[in-house]
């Protein structure tokens, strides 16, 4: 059973999002997703300042097994990226919810957060896959 923190919201494509106090939100991939991908060897990140829409492909994660797109759960502007992942992509495996975050986005429409899944819905979503 994978770890699903209850203070995050989740997209059906297995990204998590954490609302910060400064109007941004942090995005990463879930424990379930990192486990399914296996050892992650490369991460491509978006450019800071780029405007993105919810469900846009904004990053790529490549594991030994497969390449996978990362979609933004919300619309906004990229405020920060986790450059540490470029040299240590395995951090996504070891710390998917903390050190393994991908990017921060300045949220354009907070209402989009409410459309995402909570812990229980996401847990059911993973079991149904």
């Amino acid at each position: 059973m994978s770890n699903i923190p209850d203070d995050l919201r989740y997209a059906p494509t297995h990204e998590w999002i954490r609302k910060n106090d400064d109007g941004t939100a942090t995005v990463g991939i879930s424990d379930h997703a990192q486990y399914a991908l296996g050892d992650i060897v490369f991460v491509e990140l978006p450019e800071i300042g780029s405007t993105i829409n919810a469900k846009d492909e904004v990053a790529v994660v490549e594991s030994v097994k497969a390449a996978s797109d990362i979609y933004s759960p919300v619309s906004g502007v990229i405020a920060a990226i986790n450059n540490e992942l470029l040299d240590a992509p395995e951090t996504v495996n070891s710390s998917p919810y903390q050190d393994g975050w991908f990017f921060k986005v300045t949220i354009a429409n907070e209402g989009e957060l409410l459309k995402l899944m909570d812990k229980d819905s996401y847990s059911t979503h993973c079991e149904d896959e």
Partner: protein, 337 residues
């Protein structure tokens, strides 16, 4: 054999740096005995078992069909009773049928040995660690083995063969003893390694995977295996030989592709099935992965012969890759230029 026991990269690095054990009992063991066993295998295999002067000696060979394409690849050991072949798992039914069919006219017996287990222990520390748990008598004899040599120890067979590019041993022995031996290997700090790491290890070593880098439609000449074909002595006839002569002519006309190694210097991962665009035409990747040892992506690809420049379609972007000899890592070290 599971895909992985934990992290496949850790398992891979374990074999390159220390020692790991693979349970490869799924592979097929076939014993060939009888007065004409050598004559039969010299006809059946593209490599020549007459090279195996002493018992215990091993040889890699392809088994070709009449079109000169690869029916299977295998290791053959010269045993006191005759010969032992270790062939692939997925090819078992067709290979047994093929071998039995071709016994006609030869004084041989061909017997599959499903009750034998195979454990492969590989890595720089593999032999030292194995020797910690075996008797002094066995240890002395095992330490004397050189590469591609084996020894029969009662009903066990131990050989310096493998599929990783590291030194190591393969044990072929009664399956009833496998569980106990497995446990004792783990107690000697030899770690279990899964199928995923086996695949990246063999890819780094530039070894083909049957069914992926070659199959019944592939000439060994298009699979980097010409050096495993014994054209000498010229009076030896073997299945597929006339077709191979035709393949050589095709190759001389530039009409037979070649299997090469590819290296991606930048970020990204080369993967099986990706299209390869060269200055001489198109090809495709047969095996591709991230190399945990080199920390960059490597691949085997079948491309037009004499290709000089090469690009791979990486998720829609044509990306330059380097063509190298298909041998990337030996004994933990990079080997290509």
């Amino acid at each position: 054999m599971p895909i992985n026991y934990g992290s496949q990269i850790k398992e891979h690095n374990q074999v390159r740096s220390a020692a790991g054990v693979f349970d490869v009992s799924h592979m097929t063991v076939i014993d060939v005995s009888g007065e004409e066993a050598e004559k039969y295998l010299r006809y059946l295999l593209a490599n020549d078992v007459a090279k195996l002067k002493e018992t215990g000696h091993a040889l890699y060979s392809t088994m070709l069909n009449h079109e000169g394409n690869v029916l299977d690849d295998l290791i053959v050991y010269h045993m006191t009773f005759g010969y032992r072949l270790v062939t692939n798992c997925a090819t078992r039914t067709k290979v047994m049928r093929w071998m039995i069919h071709h016994t006609s006219g030869f004084g041989v017996s061909v017997e599959e040995r499903p009750r034998l287990a195979i454990l492969a222990v590989h890595g720089p520390q593999s032999i030292d660690k194995v020797c910690e748990i075996l008797s002094d008598e066995y240890t002395q004899r095992i330490r004397k083995l050189s590469n591609f040599k084996g020894i029969e120890l009662e009903n066990w067979f131990v050989a310096r063969t493998g599929y990783t590019g590291e030194k190591g041993l393969e044990f072929i022995f009664p399956a009833s003893e496998a569980s106990e031996f497995w446990d004792s290997l783990l107690e000697a700090d030899i770690k279990p390694i899964g199928l995923a790491a086996r695949d990246t290890l063999r890819l780094e070593a530039g070894m083909n995977l049957y069914g992926q880098d070659m199959d019944e439609s592939t000439s060994p000449l298009a699979a980097n295996l010409e050096k495993t074909i014994a054209y000498q002595p010229t009076d030896r006839e073997f299945i597929g030989k006339p077709a191979l002569i035709a393949h050589k002519l095709l190759r001389d006309e530039g009409k037979l592709p070649q299997l090469v190694g590819l290296v991606l210097e930048g970020r990204g991962v080369l993967r099986e099935g990706q299209k390869v665009v060269t200055d001489k035409g198109n090809g495709f990747i047969t095996s591709g992965s991230f190399s945990p040892t080199l920390k960059q992506s490597i691949a085997l690809a079948r491309i037009p012969i004499n290709s000089e420049s090469c690009k791979v379609d990486l998720r829609g972007t044509l990306t330059s890759v380097r063509i190298v000899k298909p041998n990337f890592v030996r004994f933990g070290k990079k080997v290509f230029e």
